[in-house]
């Protein structure tokens, strides 16, 4: 049985070798669904620690980017061993970098962290047209819509997306959070979002408060 | 020896020893044509 505390610490330290060994061990066993689930949970807890180390100024964006990749790789490797529907869902988020913007580093960091916190994320990717967001919201009925962008032109797209949700009669059934370089209090108000964040970990906390 | 894409500095110096006091670290060529081709290729590399 792998030591889960060691795994949490390894994830927090971004130590891939330790994680690889543990995953290989789990995959070599039969009937490993429960253990695989525990490993995933331990790594997700490690991801939360990564967020704290970023807040404290020890880790920077590059570390978050790498952490996201490490966690994704853990999830991908263990997926075959996990039973369907075994991961707890803390809420559903439709996520997108808005139309006209190709940047996704911040969005991807947010995705990693919010998934680690137990949310299910439907990530529409970059340069996402307004109607695609609306259609997906209709289809999956999420709790939250997250809109990301780096360029100031993204703010227009964010507003258009929120307006479109209103027009489609969907605005009141979701919470909207906007993230990225140009967002602030004023911008949030004029776009009509419920919250804004320039910090992925803070964004996660906001989302947790909404569904908790 | 593998063929070099652009004339190396040492080759240039063999033919033009009077250029020896130019800084070899920057690989500058006396041939503006070569430098323009280099700049062109590198511009493609960074855009």
């Amino acid at each position: 049985m792998v030591d889960l505390n060691v795994l949490t610490q390894a994830m927090s330290d971004l130590d891939e070798d330790v994680l690889k060994k543990a995953i290989d061990e789990v995959l070599s066993k039969d009937d490993n669904a429960a253990e695989a689930q525990e490993v995933v949970k331990a790594c997700q807890q490690g991801m939360t620690l990564v967020g704290e180390r970023y807040d404290s100024g020890e880790y920077f964006i590059g570390d978050l980017v790498f952490a996201g990749e490490v966690l994704q790789s853990v999830m991908d490797k263990l997926k075959p061993a996990l039973s369907a529907g075994s991961s707890a869902k803390g809420g559903k988020i439709v996520l997108a970098t808005v139309f006209g913007d190709l940047h996704d580093i911040g969005k991807n960091i947010f995705r990693s962290m919010v998934e680690a916190a137990g949310f299910e994320v439907i990530d529409l990717g970059i340069n996402v047209p307004v109607n695609q967001v609306v259609d997906k919201v209709k289809e999956v009925n999420p709790d939250i819509v997250g809109l990301s962008g780096v360029l100031t032109l993204a703010l227009d797209s964010m507003k258009e997306t929120v307006d479109a949700l209103t027009e489609a009669g969907l605005r009141n059934s979701v919470k909207v959070i906007i993230g990225g370089v140009p967002v602030n209090e004023n911008v949030c108000k004029s776009i009509g979002a419920d919250a804004f964040s320039t910090n992925a970990a803070e964004g996660v906390k906001i989302c947790q408060r909404w569904v908790g | 020896m593998e063929e070099k894409l652009l004339i190396s500095w040492s080759e240039i110096l063999k033919q033009h020893p009077e250029l020896a006091d130019q800084d070899p670290a920057i690989g500058m060529s006396w041939d503006m044509g070569q430098e323009m081709v280099f700049s062109y290729l590198f511009m493609l590399a960074i855009f």
Binding site: L14, E16, E58, Y59, F60, I61, G62, D63, V65, F66, E69, F99, G100, D101, L102, H103, D104, I105, N108, I126, N127, L151, T152, L153, L155, D156, P182, N186 | L5, L6, A25, I26, G27, M28, M32, E35, M36, V37, F38, S39, Y40, L41, F42, M43, L44, A45, I46, F47
Partner: protein, 389 residues
């Protein structure tokens, strides 16, 4: 004609005196209008990229309408060249949007190709990367060879036309700051070949190879910088190369010290020795690196800063480099004229004493909504009056 030449000289002297950490007659104003200039003149970025005559018109309109001492550059990408080669990474997302690069499309080099890259980066770039970036260069000879030659023609035409725009602006008495572009080897590999995500993984998984790649690529970049310096006609003032940077604000200090700083310092020392003035684009917040920047040769480079505590940056860098920027561009779009002027006054009160400060926005204006022209004009006018020593 002579009046324009005098104006050109006066503006140039004002800027370069300030770069030399002296006090000129007043605080200079640098125009930092990128693709915004295209929109201002009623064009889209795509239009000015393809048609350099439109680019010239946009630049001249900005020079005529907006009070500045110098424009940082003529904003234009060599669209004809890139499109004729079938560029895959050069995208307009819609007909009036700007060019952006996605991290996914930066995947031109796989993680196990470092050894080959490190042996001879230029060869690897020409043989492997260019064909991956440009559809025409992936074809076989002679189609590929013709494409390369056609591209060279576009390159020469682009160079000539760009020179023409510089000349047209000079005739109006408007100097341009930048003579060329540099990039840090690590930023180049991250931005264009491995992706930023890829690079942060490589730093952890194959750090020695990354270090070797940076070292192998550096002389190539130095040569590129000097090539541009030599291709521009002689000037009375130092030639200027722009150095945009992306990775440092994303890295922790230990990684910066190990990977980024050594090549950065070598690059800055090299160009200082050649009397080429590098303008570093210190995007984001560089305060944790001020002590590093203090090690750069004094007055030989200058810095365009985005976020800073004004007193802190002035105190830290006043003996090392001229500071450019700091004025929040968002205020130009969302603020009133009064708010903009108040902010400019606040900045000048701290940054102007003793010289060594050039007024400019904190970052380049890219989108049409990155700044209202009325506010820009009002603020620049204010600085030209209030900034008199």
């Amino acid at each position: 004609m002579s009046e324009a030449m005098n104006l050109y000289q006066e503006r140039s002297n004002r800027i370069f005196k300030t770069i030399n950490l002296e006090q000129a007659d007043r605080v200079p104003v640098l125009g930092t209008y990128g693709t915004w200039s295209a929109y201002y003149a009623g064009y889209t970025p795509a239009q000015v990229d393809i048609d350099l005559d439109k680019c010239a018109k946009a630049s001249v309109k900005v020079a005529n309408d907006i009070p500045v001492d110098m424009l940082h550059m003529v904003s234009n990408k060599p669209a004809a060249l890139l499109q004729s080669l079938g560029s895959k990474s050069y995208n307009y997302l819609s007909k009036d949007n700007i060019v952006q690069y996605s991290d996914e499309q930066a995947g031109m080099m796989s993680e196990d190709e470092y050894p080959e890259f490190n042996k001879d980066p230029l060869r690897f770039i020409v043989e492997k990367i260019l064909p991956r970036k440009f559809a025409e260069l992936a074809k076989s000879s002679p189609a590929k060879d013709v494409a390369l030659a056609r591209g060279a023609m576009h390159f020469a035409i682009y160079g000539a036309k760009s020179g023409g725009i510089t000349g047209a602006l000079a005739q109006q008495g408007m100097p341009l700051l930048g003579d060329g572009l540099l990039i840090h080897p690590m930023d180049l590999i991250a931005d264009m070949y491995r992706g930023i995500k890829g690079m942060f993984g490589d730093m952890r998984r194959r750090p020695e190879e990354v270090l070797e790649a940076i070292e192998a690529l550096l002389p190539v970049i130095l040569r590129f910088g000097m090539g541009q310096v030599h291709m521009v006609p002689p000037k009375a003032t130092p030639k200027v190369l722009f150095l945009p940077m992306h990775l440092p604000t994303m890295m922790k200090l230990a990684d910066f010290d190990k990977f980024y700083w050594p090549a950065f310092k070598k690059m800055m020392d090299f160009f200082a020795a050649q009397n080429v003035c590098v303008l570093g684009f210190y995007e984001g917040d560089w305060s944790r690196y001020y002590d590093h920047l203090q090690e750069l040769p004094a007055k030989k480079s200058f810095g365009w800063f985005e976020h800073a505590n004004f007193k802190e940056i002035k105190q830290s860098l006043k003996d090392t480099m001229c500071i450019v920027g700091l004025f929040p561009a968002t205020l130009l779009q969302y603020g009133t004229e009064q708010e903009c002027i108040a902010k400019a006054k606040e900045i000048l009160d701290i940054m102007a004493p003793g010289g060594g400060y050039i007024f400019a926005t904190d970052r380049e204006l890219i989108a049409a909504q990155d700044g209202k022209s009325e506010n820009i004009i009002a603020v620049n006018k204010f600085v030209m009056e209030y900034g008199i020593y």
